[in-house]
């Protein structure tokens, strides 16, 4: 009986114009997004490789170790084809030098502002927005529509249980929606192979998890659709209610989470932090000046009673000691300022982490947030992508700095910069390139952060669990509502 009901439900959906529309729209959108994603990825790879080559050439052309600089680029990942996440918004390069701090700058959208106007539509966007709307279209009249049509009553004249009917209804709609999702995405995966995209085994695992996540997300919307259709007597009312729920869940709650977290955990602005840093720096240097004056007064006091010659001799005797003392005090001031800046930075980072966690937890009231966060985690284009890269770049910078300092120590006579010679024949400028060739073969290599599929899945587990919970709640609710449903 159950299989008969499922067959009927599936057949009813497959023969309906809304299935044809869903299949056509999903196929066009998903295949278009994968194709454009592949093109974007290939362009990003070409750009990445070209930039890496330029950086290598710059290093090779450096005249001395003192002036050597490196630029590291963020490596494109094939998974950004499906989940662009923050890929287009996070900077794609950072300067590596002994003096500059690590900061990813020049995001793809900051370089290509035109594309930022009509942002790239990726697979997750299609699932998040388009398929969830189609799920509503498929389910808003699942129960009350059949009641209005009279087919519900005609079906229940026969010896069928309400549970069987609801399971069949859910299964039929589920299959009717999964087909337009799976067929295009499988073709999309085939396109990755045809276009020679270097997808690792780990990436295939992430893509499989992403498809599973999308299926869960759609299942939730089917559940909520059937629940509302079981609660509202009229299909027009259930459509309206579902539209409101969709707007709340997809558009409002995720943003509300961010706003609420901003209010609950306020973080000082960059200007405020800089003002604090400046104030400390000024105070510390003022203190240093006062201390220095006091020191010199003490030193002068030590020379009281000495005649000029004795004082001169004493000064000469103490000169290096005093210079070293002053230098140590000055260095201590610099250390204090750096330490203060570090503490302030860490405080802000900790506050940001708290705010971020709160924002996500509030946003997770909506399964849309769980879907989006989990998808970005799986693809590695999540909010931590920037910090992961910057952290690895900082490690690299330490290695790089050590390496450069070692090389400088090995070449103490090395002169930096250019040399200008003026003789009878005129002025000649020498950049020193011909004098020596830097051996960069031992230069540390940057290892881009890699998120393994297992780790990514582990990071997404909470959101997977939440989606499953939401599904259980909606289906439990649907069953409860339908068992009490007035068939008339």
């Amino acid at each position: 009986m159950l299989s008969l009901l499922i067959q009927k439900e599936l057949k009813n959906i497959l023969l309906s114009p809304k299935f044809v529309a869903t299949f056509a729209v999903c196929s066009i959108l998903i295949l278009m997004s994968v194709y454009i994603g592949i093109q974007e990825y290939n362009n990003a790879v070409i750009q990445y490789e070209a930039n890496q080559e330029i950086a290598r050439q710059d290093i090779a052309e450096a005249s001395n170790w003192r002036s050597i600089r490196n630029i590291l680029h963020r490596e494109p990942t094939p998974l950004q084809i499906f989940v662009s996440g923050l890929h287009f918004d996070v900077g794609r390069l950072s300067n590596i030098s002994t003096s500059d701090d690590i900061k990813l700058i020049r995001s793809p959208y900051s370089d290509e502002t035109l594309f930022a106007i009509f942002r790239f539509i990726d697979f997750t966007f299609i699932v998040q927005i388009v398929l969830s709307l189609f799920a509503i279209l498929f389910t808003y009249d699942a129960i009350n529509g059949e009641r209005e049509n009279g087919t519900l009553k005609l079906a229940f004249v026969n010896p069928i249980s309400r549970a069987s009917y609801l399971i069949a209804k859910f299964t039929g709609i589920w299959m009717g929606l999964i087909i337009p999702l799976l067929i295009p995405i499988l073709i999309g995966m085939l396109m990755l192979i045809l276009f020679d995209i270097p997808v690792l085994a780990s990436d295939w695992g992430s893509i499989a998890s992403l498809i599973g996540l999308s299926v869960l997300y759609i299942t939730f919307f089917i559940g909520i659709g059937i629940l509302v259709s079981s609660l509202a007597r009229k299909s027009s009312l259930s459509f309206l209610l579902l539209l409101v729920i969709w707007i709340g869940g997809v558009l409002i709650i995720p943003r509300l989470g961010i706003t609420a977290a901003g209010q609950l955990v306020p973080i000082e602005s960059v200007a405020q932090i800089e003002a604090k840093q400046d104030a400390f720096q000024r105070a510390r240097w003022n203190q240093y000046s006062e201390d220095l004056s006091e020191t010199w007064r003490t030193r002068s006091a030590e020379m009281e009673g000495m005649d000029e010659a004795q004082a001169q001799a004493y000064r000469e005797e103490k000169e290096w000691e005093w210079l070293e003392e002053d230098d140590a005090t000055r260095k201590q001031v610099q250390v204090d300022i750096i330490e203060n800046n570090r503490v302030l930075y860490e405080e802000v980072q900790n506050q940001k982490k708290i705010q971020e966690k709160l924002a996500f937890n509030i946003a997770r009231i909506s399964p849309v947030s769980s879907f989006r966060l989990a998808a970005m985690n799986l693809a590695g284009t999540d909010i931590d992508m920037k910090s992961r890269y910057e952290e690895n770049m900082r490690f690299y910078k330490d290695d790089f700095t050590d390496f450069v300092e070692r090389k400088q120590a090995e070449n103490p006579d090395e002169q930096g910069g250019m040399r200008i010679e003026i003789d009878e024949s005129g002025v000649s400028i020498d950049f020193g390139r011909d004098d020596q060739t830097l051996d960069t073969s031992e230069l540390p290599r940057f290892e881009a952060p890699v998120v393994q599929a297992g780790t990514a899945f582990g990071n997404s587990l909470l959101d997977f669990g939440l989606l499953v919970l939401f599904i259980i709640v909606t289906f439990g609710g649907s069953f409860t509502a339908f068992l009490r449903y007035d068939m008339r």
């Binding site: 009986m1 008969l4 009901l5 009927k8 057949k11 009813n12 023969l15 309906s16 049509n149 009279g150 087919t151 009553k153 005609l154 079906a155 229940f156 004249v157 026969n158 010896p159 069928i160 249980s161 007035d486 068939m487 008339r488």
Partner: protein, 261 residues
């Protein structure tokens, strides 16, 4: 030694059936009726009289406040899945799946009713019997008129082959020809031994075909007459008087003896 005639068990029976809604409205008040195999019981009554409530109680769409609705001696509200094996239903406005053809709809609902051994020829035979044109068999229901849908509905009921049939205003909105065809079919089904409980507004059709006519008013079965008792009776007048609620024995006697036919 005298022999009592063997009385067949009723296939449809309402025993002290009462339904009081949450708002206090009494839709059925201690209703008692029986429909035996080969009988048609027509329930007459105005809107809100309790006709559809009675049918809905037999179909377990409504739980009675007290009493019971029995199908083949099975309580329809206690064991609905078992009871529904023995009953078919045709509503006032049969609605089927518009994206399916007549044949697909019939196939689905008949199999849902537990009959899975039929072949296309059996469906065709039933559809021809109810008067549907052969060229309509494979057309989608969205192009069907109400009469055509009603024919599909009765074909489904015939093919389910249940011993009891519930008809809720089945001829409402049908043209006279379709109504007459429908009446003929119901008569045939009665002759095949089906027990039929029919709610209707159509006094003349009820009188023409029913073995029993019951008049419901505010959930109370105010009158129940056999076909023989109604012979020569102005049923319309009787109905109106009962509905007005001031029928007394004198008037009833006068109406029953006045042959206006």
């Amino acid at each position: 030694m005298t022999t009592e005639p063997i009385q067949a068990a009723p296939l449809l029976e309402a025993r002290n059936l009462t339904k009081v809604y949450e708002d206090g409205v009494k839709a059925l008040d201690n209703l008692n009726l029986k429909v035996l195999p080969g009988e048609i019981f027509a329930m007459l009554g105005g809107n809100g009289a309790g006709k559809t409530t009675t049918i809905n109680t037999f179909l377990d769409f409504i739980q009675p406040t007290s009493g019971s609705a029995l199908i083949n001696s099975i309580d329809a509200n206690q064991e609905p899945l078992e009871a529904k094996k023995y009953v078919s239903f045709v509503s006032e406005n049969v609605q089927l799946y518009p994206n399916f053809t007549a044949m697909q709809n019939v196939d689905f609902f008949v199999r849902l009713g537990g009959q899975s051994n039929y072949e296309r020829a059996d469906y065709e035979h039933a559809l021809i019997r109810v008067g549907l044109q052969r060229e309509a068999f494979d057309k989608k229901l969205k192009d069907f008129s109400k009469g055509m849908r009603q024919k599909c509905g009765i074909a489904i009921a015939i093919l389910k082959d249940a011993p009891a049939i519930l008809l809720d205003e089945p001829t409402s909105g049908l043209d006279p020809k379709a109504g007459k065809e429908f009446t003929r079919l119901v008569g045939e089904l009665r002759d095949e031994g089906k027990a039929i409980l029919m709610s209707t507004h159509d006094i003349f059709r009820a009188k023409e075909i029913a073995d029993y006519v019951g008049i419901l008013n505010n959930g109370v079965l105010v009158a129940q007459k056999t076909y023989e008792e109604l012979r020569g009776v102005n049923l319309e007048e009787l109905y109106v008087e009962y509905m007005a609620g001031y029928m007394d024995e004198t008037l009833e006697s006068a109406v029953l003896t006045n042959d206006l036919d």
